[in-house]
Amino acid sequence: MKLHEYQAKEIMRRYGIATPHGRVAETPDEAYEIASELKGHVVVKAQVHVGGRGKAGGISVVKTPEEARDAASRILGMNIKGLTVGKVLVEQAVEAVKEYYLGVTVDRSQKSIAIIASSEGGVDIEEVAAKTPEKIAKVWTTPREGFMPWQARALALSAGFDGRVITQVGGYFSSLFRLFKQEDAELAEINPLMLTKDGKVVAADAKITLDDNALFRHPGYGGLWEAEGDDPLEQEARRRRLTYVKLGGDIGVIGNGAGLVMATIDAIKAEGGEAANFLDIGGGARAEVVQNALELILMDKAVKAILINVFGGITRCDEVAQGLLTAIESVNLDLPVVVRLVGTREKEGRALLRDTPVVTADTMVDAAKRIVAIAGGGM
């Protein structure tokens, strides 16, 4: 779960990391009020779950509350990389004499937590890694092993930080690591960390992604989730507890197992079709899950035909077939459906579908061919 900058900063402040003064606004008038409370220049920043907000015009530095209101009315409702801006963060502009990068993230290859420092802040860290790798230093640890302030100071020094800031930076790094571990984050990043004229360090931008699998340890996280970035169908899928991704084509896809569904979508594309979605009903999918999935697919008005590809491991084909028949009855399904059922209780599953309008297919490639022909065939 990605958090907005303003949410990430709230969490960071709880861990003792300083951020510029400011608050979030949902209307231009609120932005005016906040800017009036703050003195001097303020920055108005779009709160969306994508990078590159500045380049897209989603960040404005302004001098007066009036200008803040104008900036907010321009940015609110703006579309940045497909996402609509619903909130802006209005905060004190900070003048930096130097910008740094601090990050804590999960390193898949090393099977550990990577702690990353760079003396080249304010830019994409991947770019720094590619162009000036000497300006990045990394160490690895585990939650159990931890990360001490002295390690942070050594790391900052080896990334080329100014010796005068390493005590403060060391403290921030320990806080960021503590936050990462206690909040079950996948990513906690300060970029840039600004060094001001009077020698203070401030988190000017902040990013936190939380681990969805750890939500049970953090009951309060439900309230942090903000859906404005997601497609309405993806939001509905979340309510229905289905693993769904909207893709934009006209062939609805349901399958069991992430790899199988991805491969099914690839196969549809290879046959010249476009999948409307990714939908994994998972292992052990029962009749009511299949019905739930079909109902969701039917909410996508672009869908002209549906392909169901189930390979039974845990999933029992007769349960899938039963769910399909129940769903067809309950939602008056009138779209063409191709079903491919293999595996546990396959014969029973297919027997249930005999004498119904459902088309059955033997293999994934065969199913993809049929569905593309149906969806493209003069509908």
Partner: protein, 290 residues
């Protein structure tokens, strides 16, 4: 023979009294009755699941039944504890089926396993398990689709593996061992670990590797294949997946320039590994190799 599990595997099923644990323990026993020797559910010691004795601790299963491998079905919040208990009790291989374990728990779990000794191995988490054909099934794979033969199969996915295996079997091409390494970002046994083991296995003559978007495991595998003598055929799913979206598996996500299907396909091609465009093509290429 085959890799990691065989007819000498003595399995304890952790979480055997739960719905999935019970269902699959019995199926694993159907596959080879000698393999499944015990179950563990804390507080249920002294009971049995259709004749499989249940113990309170893994240590008892090791001492009294000679268990050397564990299959974990416990819920995600208790999984780290279960895996670490297994290694601390002398188990050398843990196959962790559980899905949805917090990533930081997985990191600590694997780190503690490593500290128990270099022979300790975790397969998974969030995996369908492993089967050495005709010898042992550990996990949730449908045993009936497998057929003994010379092909090793490694995959990040469950059902897609079954898809490829059933195509292989239907063309009369059998398998040595099929291993599902799991769909999480952090897993105990990687493609490279499995390739290394297959290279040493006399029963395996060629390998099918089924990858997907996310991470760098396929790229690392491509680099390793150069040092192998056995041929490998690759398949990568998620070629049409949009960036930034998690495609079902926690690990199946393209972030920035990382983890794209193009990068993986390219890495394989540069290593001289044929990449199949469809699952049917996997079988076509394999049958040409044999």
């Amino acid at each position: 023979m085959g890799i990691f599990v065989d007819k000498h595997t003595r399995l304890v099923v952790q979480g055997i009294t739960g719905r999935e644990g019970r269902f699959h323990a019995l199926r694993m026993r159907d596959y080879n009755p000698d393999v499944v020797v015990a179950g563990v559910t804390p507080g249920r010691g002294g009971q049995d699941v259709e004749g499989i004795p249940v113990f309170d601790t893994v240590a008892e299963a090791v001492e009294q039944r000679g268990a050397n491998t564990s299959c974990v079905f416990v819920p995600s919040r208790a999984a780290e504890d279960a895996v670490v208990e297994a290694f601390a009790s002398g188990i050398e291989l843990v196959v962790c089926i559980t899905e949805g374990i917090p990533t930081l728990d997985v990191i600590d779990m694997l780190d503690q396993a490593k500290k128990e000794g270099s022979r300790c191995r975790v397969i998974g988490p969030n995996c369908p398990g492993i089967i050495t054909c005709g010898e042992a099934s550990v996990g949730i794979m449908p045993g009936q689709i497998f057929q003994r033969g010379p092909i090793g199969v490694i995959s990040r996915s469950g059902t897609l593996t079954y898809e490829v295996v059933s195509l292989l079997s239907s063309r009369g091409i059998g398998q040595s061992t099929c291993i599902g390494i799991g769909g999480d970002p952090i897993i105990g046994t990687t493609f490279v670990d499995s390739l290394e083991a297959f290279e040493e296995d006399d029963d395996t003559h060629a390998i099918v590797l089924i990858g997907e978007i996310g991470g760098r495991d396929e790229e690392e595998a491509a680099a390793f294949i150069g040092s192998m003598t056995k041929p490998v055929v690759a398949f990568v799913s998620g070629r049409t997946a949009p960036p930034g979206k998690r495609m079902g598996h926690a690990g199946a996500i393209v972030s920035g320039s990382m983890g794209t299907a193009e990068s993986k396909v390219k890495a394989f091609q540069e290593a001289g590994v044929p990449v199949a465009d469809t699952v049917n093509e996997v079988v076509d290429i394999i049958s040409e190799l044999l």
